[in-house]
Symmetry: D2
Subunit: 504 residues, 4 copies
């Protein structure tokens, strides 16, 4: 049930990935209708309105007359199709659509209400336009969202269920008729940050889960390392009340339920390397930046990013800059930096896990120093992926220049900022996966240590890894193991099982 005001990240994910159906609240629909009426009144009065009876972009000086409304809006949609591949995934396009539909419900566009229903129907009947995901500098994703509009008027391509076909046929198969555009519809359809915001919701959701996963794997590694739990102590963390740190510390204490690490004099050392000792601070910093980003992104998906802004209560329409997504774009840049820290912490934990003078286990966790090389070379792939993350974490939002007749002299490159964060997340499944492989090997090597036993999360991670990847007793092709670990982590079974255990 969309109202324009209370869409959550989780709901976007449910619609996008789990095919939940959407409904439009009656109140919101009424609001949109009133807003539409206002548009017609203004058009009648010949008040100059950008995108209604005036051109858009640098063409804002051009007058659009009434007879030309339909054709102009079709032209606008077509001429705004200036995107570059690759295609966004079906789930990403669905995320865009539900986000855009929600913000349209605020009544700030004056779009025809039939188009709102069209969004709903296409979502519920699985018609998903083909949208190339590059081409927008983020100052409204007009270059890409135009492809959703294109499909709505029966042009371009779309998926019906998972099959690609001409949009006109996809609509037909779903029992839908193409939309006929009226005044200002074109602008309302294309001018929104819904591509960035839609993809952003999915990425944010994944980052959020990733931090939990990182905490779980860290708790397992700490056990494999014979590390010190004192930095996790509740009072110690209260003395440093960063919210993210304290959340991670509390979670890790839970994840370590039942672990041998809580027994006295267990740890190998008085003070562990910082990658272990500061893990909850570092993971917590990701949480802190996520919190900031989430606050900003929730405003985005529940507010108007339209220009001009229809104020139907005031019976007015005003030129503005509300398509500006800068605050949450910077939020993504900050999350990227935080994830680069998380990545390095994971890499360093893995290095430590294979270093004999830290673990008191054999070098590179070999089960047989004379005959098995084991985890030596594997340090290179995580270092290489971590370098990619470092590179991706460089900001790019401020790299723009004036376009469109010098008018558009600010930008954020928001789609790319979101997409590089998505790439960082993907790399991290590998990096944390390799950490988990190491911890599992170390755990196996410790099996005979009399006091050793795993806590709640450690046990789950161990089992999930071992379900796919056996103990390394002799050298084998590890490329295969790395890929399996990636799949285990990305598949989500670890978090699912840990959280179930915690609830029970």
């Amino acid at each position: 049930m969309l109202t324009g005001k209370d869409l959550t990240i989780e709901e976007v994910v449910k619609v996008a990935r789990d095919n939940f159906e959407v409904e439009i609240s009656e109140e919101a629909y009424e609001r949109a209708k009133k807003s539409r009426e206002l548009i017609f009144e203004l058009a009648k009065k010949n008040v100059p309105v950008y995108g209604l009876n005036r051109g858009v972009g640098a063409n804002k000086d051009r007058i659009i007359d009434e007879q030309f409304f339909h054709e102009y809006n079709v032209n606008l949609v077509r001429s705004h199709c200036v995107a570059v591949g690759p295609e966004a995934s079906i789930e990403e396009v669905r995320a865009m659509m539900v986000v855009r539909l929600n913000t349209l419900l605020l009544g700030c566009t004056g779009i025809q209400p039939e188009i709102l229903l069209m969004y709903k129907e296409m979502l519920n009947k699985h018609v998903t336009p083909v949208v190339p995901e590059r081409g927008s500098v983020g100052e409204a994703d007009i270059a890409c969202l135009s492809h959703i509009a294109l499909a709505m008027i029966g042009e371009g391509e779309a998926y019906f269920n998972k099959e690609k076909m001409p949009a006109s046929i996809a609509l037909e198969k779903a029992g839908l008729k193409p939309v006929k555009l009226g005044p200002k519809d074109g602008l309302a359809l294309v001018s929104s940050n819904a591509l960035s915001a839609g993809e952003g919701c999915l990425v944010l959701y994944d980052v959020d889960n990733l931090v939990d996963l990182a905490d779980m794997i860290y708790s397992f590694s700490l056990e494999a390392f014979r590390g010190n739990v004192s930095p996790l102590d509740e009072n110690v963390n209260k003395a440093r009340p960063f919210p993210g740190q304290n959340e991670s510390a509390a979670k890790v204490r839970n994840y370590l339920k039942g672990s041998y690490l809580w027994k006295p004099n267990i740890a190998n050392a008085l003070q562990d390397p910082l990658c272990f000792r500061c893990a909850v601070h570092i993971h917590g910093a990701v949480r802190d930046t996520i919190r900031f980003l989430k606050e900003m992104l929730l405003i985005q998906i529940n507010s108007s990013d339209d220009n001009p802004c229809v104020l139907f209560k005031q019976e007015d329409i005003k030129s503005c800059g509300n398509f500006e997504p800068i605050s949450w774009t910077i939020g993504f840049e900050a999350v990227g930096i935080a994830l680069s820290h998380l990545s390095k912490a994971s890499c360093y934990r893995t290095i430590k896990l294979s270093t004999e003078h830290f673990t008191k286990l054999a070098r590179f966790l070999t089960p047989d120093p004379e005959h098995v090389i084991a985890y030596g070379t594997i340090q290179k792939p995580f270092a290489a992926l971590d370098a990619e993350i470092r590179h991706l974490a460089n900001p790019v939002s401020m790299d723009f220049y004036a376009v469109a007749g010098e008018i558009e002299d600010h930008a954020n490159n928001t789609p790319y900022v979101v997409q590089k964060t998505r790439k960082i997340v993907d790399n991290l499944y590998y990096i944390l996966g390799i950490e988990a492989i190491h911890a599992a090997q170390a755990a196996d090597l410790r099996k005979n240590e009399p006091d050793f036993n795993l806590g709640l999360a450690g046990q789950v991670v161990y089992e999930e890894i071992r379900r796919r990847i056996p103990f390394l007793d002799k050298d084998r092709n590890l490329t295969v193991d790395i890929q399996k670990a990636y799949e285990v982590l990305k598949g989500g079974s670890i978090q699912k099982k840990v959280n179930e255990l915690l609830k029970s």
Copy 2:
């Protein structure tokens, strides 16, 4: 009055810059005393404690025996003096000291209470150690803060009032005696993020002011540009409820009180370039990141960054990673990115102010197109300074590697992150200053336009600029003007006068 718990950014600034005196709350002092007693008890019991009866860093395996306590702590202070110039300013060192004193009051270090008094006395009697400001990777600023400790034991150099001299003499002149170090005092003195946090408080305070200043200059530029006020409309901004944006919009509406721009049909164009139209969004994004940073930094200066952490209530002491400053370090990186956007917006406004087809004034705001070149070449210095800002806004917190026997395998480069933000702010006084020069020239050129008049802030900016820099009637050395504008902006008189007017 310091309690360890409620120090504000403003108070740090008052102590650092305005020489406010500090007091230590009795409760806090008692807490510190109890914590000290606990230290002695633990030492007696021979519980192994990092930095007390065990070495620090990779030497945590070395036993320190009781007779060696004083000498060990002096050695520790001396050997931790590994910093590199330039010197921090007197106000910055004072900021470090008040921050460190406050966090010591939480009782998590077990430092001898006499040292607390020493901090207080040195602050109140204007003895300021010489502290080179580079050398720390931010994982506690031990390489630099050691110089404060060095001065306390009468070694190294210090300022008494504003004169540099051997620390022993400075103490003597102030009527103070060098401290005699006991167990764990060395570690407690050097191990803290107080350099980064102290300098950080000053920078954050300045950034906070800078955004207000940017809003004031923007409001003046908008008048000089004959820009559109519709993006500032309260309802328009409510439709996009980013806190920073709405704060800037509300402020700018106030700054424009009395301006001709509120009259109907004033603006040159239906839609202004984004540097004007999205200014409150962009400035607001700086506010949004500041809000995040401030939340984090306030935790830093009111919590313990000590390792090990003395828990006197639990009569325990625990190894930890609480010196980790990552969350607010990333906050500074994010603020830097946001400021890079603000910088570009100011630059583009200045470009637009000198572009004839936007302003309908003469090119480069020349008063005499035939004989005066005016503001042509001046676009280069702001573009050059903006490029510096772009460069400084690159993140650096994740550029580290393991040191100290591989133990310290996480870092944040926090001092440098803070210092590059300080540099960004300094450059922005120039960039906004050049914008103000342009707006003042344009305002003068518009003087004869019948409907033209300035609002509250515009009038103040105009007068403050014109107090130092006359109208450009013929070509002159503008290097001088740029420097004057910088001084006007940095001096703070604009904000002071605007805020006074708003209150009255």
Copy 3:
């Protein structure tokens, strides 16, 4: 005919892409055989040799005894398979193989000569191992090249012709038998920069072609712009004898043969924007950095990157660091920076081509200002792709930390550096393609200008574009046009036709 000493970039491309057959020179083969004999002598004498009778990486302290030679080398190959997808393309793997085969011929490895023949046969019979292209930090690409070795021993996967299958079957289909590894073979197979160098040769070849293409499109744009040819004057360029600039200027003068621009008083302005005026300097800077890179990369593919280095003339084998690819890695970073400049110059030319006060044509090159929006929004995709290029041009070679027991404390991330350059090149086909679309539209709009006619290259670019993309007479889906322009440019027909015309 490979000798180890005179492989060219063009030859690598011919083998990789055009399936040229390879031969091994007799002299080189003899050299390799002698080197192999030396290995066995040293092994007999029990001289400790890294990778022969001692372990590799941090295991260099482990003794490998003779009976264990085969198994050890198989283990080494398997355990070094630690790569991460995506797969390198078939042509890229072929480039790796020919590069590695050539450097093996220098006789510095002591590899068994049968393996040299195996490289040759696999190349000539189209057996191409599946090689995931990530996982190496560039300090020899052992994590990835191990997959070529794996296929040689009949494990893993390979393509036979273009079909993927188990390597053992691919070998069988090609009539080849798996290799049986002897001492030091494993190390010789995996330890080389051949992945980076092989992919690097292809990328460098493409960059080289891209600059020619950029010069051609620039010459066309200059005609479409009615620009000034004086910056191309031979004497003017001699006064500034940068080799790249002068090469581009000479080429562009040729490309403009027959153009109306050489007539007097043609240009719209005395001085053009720098994107036109400095184009040959900017394109020339790419040439200058290419020249540096090519010099370095040619050394790489014709020299030994082996450690230890077998010196068969001196009958010695020495530990060394010859796998270090730093000089040409930095060459790629520099080329990336240069390409970012080239990209911005192309973008700005396109902006200028659609700006009416520069071209004296209609805004956004519309054929009908009242009814056709034309090339307005299209500025966003190239700006977005250019921002990606700016981001990719950030260096990453120095982002590493010590791995493998702290031994490998230098790296270059060379594969990623090469791969990001490859991505930059790909984006540039879009960006230059959009420039060409604009120039073609402007040329059509100028058709009626009496003095207008195109020169040699302009005519070719125009025709090649128009062969796929018709004149824009009304608004249409431009995503399609952009993709077509990309294909035209990437296809290589423009350079081919221009160069043929120039020869005739």
Copy 4:
């Protein structure tokens, strides 16, 4: 003796730093005179020439008439004074002046010959204008060089010898009269890359020396480390014929003359960490990039960077883009990246020198493990300075946007690129200094090892360090030692003595 054609980097340094006198070759002076005559002829004919009878920058459409020549040129100089501090040093301004004087001799500007003499006199009589060094985006350093012109006409400030005063007085004290500007003089004075090129020559000279120094310190460290010399073997390096690597290897072999490392079975390990093993490759990569940069920069200082370009042989003057410094700007960016690698290699060598399991010496090179902490914390300052270098090595040349009426839509930020390289070099004196401190301490701790003795360069570095910094027998303030080591290295005595010894 300046001819316009054969100025070397070393000569620039000699004039700038060592106050060598300059002469102008007669041939060059004649060339300049002819060029001047051509200007007057063109002016008479009313051929439109940029900066002569037409305005500059976006004002190129403005006509300048003859009576207005003097005033216009003075206006031009004044209005181009738009720079920002800090001041360039006296030696840097002298470098700018000799570079500019040399390129003026090519006769491409038509400047009045008296001004050439003025440059010469000011250099030889030690009148040095005050030049703020920021404000140029590098597309000719007009914003800054205008201050040299300003001093020439007796305005602004200048140094006479080392005292700052009004320029008019400085000229008077030196017995010089202000210049009276004629047509095109203003443009010729301000429009050049001489600031970047002048500062660039000094920086390049210093980098060149720094690599030698790095090789010397590396050879000393290798001795202190008991490292392996096999990677330095001549034949091993011939197998990898990168010019820089081979140059460094040859030099280091010389530096190690007489060293105990050449004896058999000396090294602690079969294979050293890469920071040692690949040192000549890494230092060599700096040499390779320097070679590229030097080739480019020599073209810059011996060619015309003027626009328009006077072609006196052809009796023509042509608009052009010859002020474009892109090729050598990218050269500086590449050198910065290479230096970041060199920095990390030095840092890692220092880490290894204080790691007991590599050196077989005590941890942190303490002379007394029980009582002296020694070189533990000192790892932080070099890591912090290295992070700064990493940050400075980020490119910035492509961060620009169109200014000056959209005409100047390319830039390079060359002054800042040069200045950040200067900063990198300065940091490296600290980093290499700390490495030398460690090597000296290790050498002292090895004194009793029977086979230990230092080679030629090691002995010099040891002595130069020990001349200022005694053996660390107990903990002391190391900030002082670090500063001393910096001064020793920057002072140049090490290279001087080593090179003298090598010659003898």
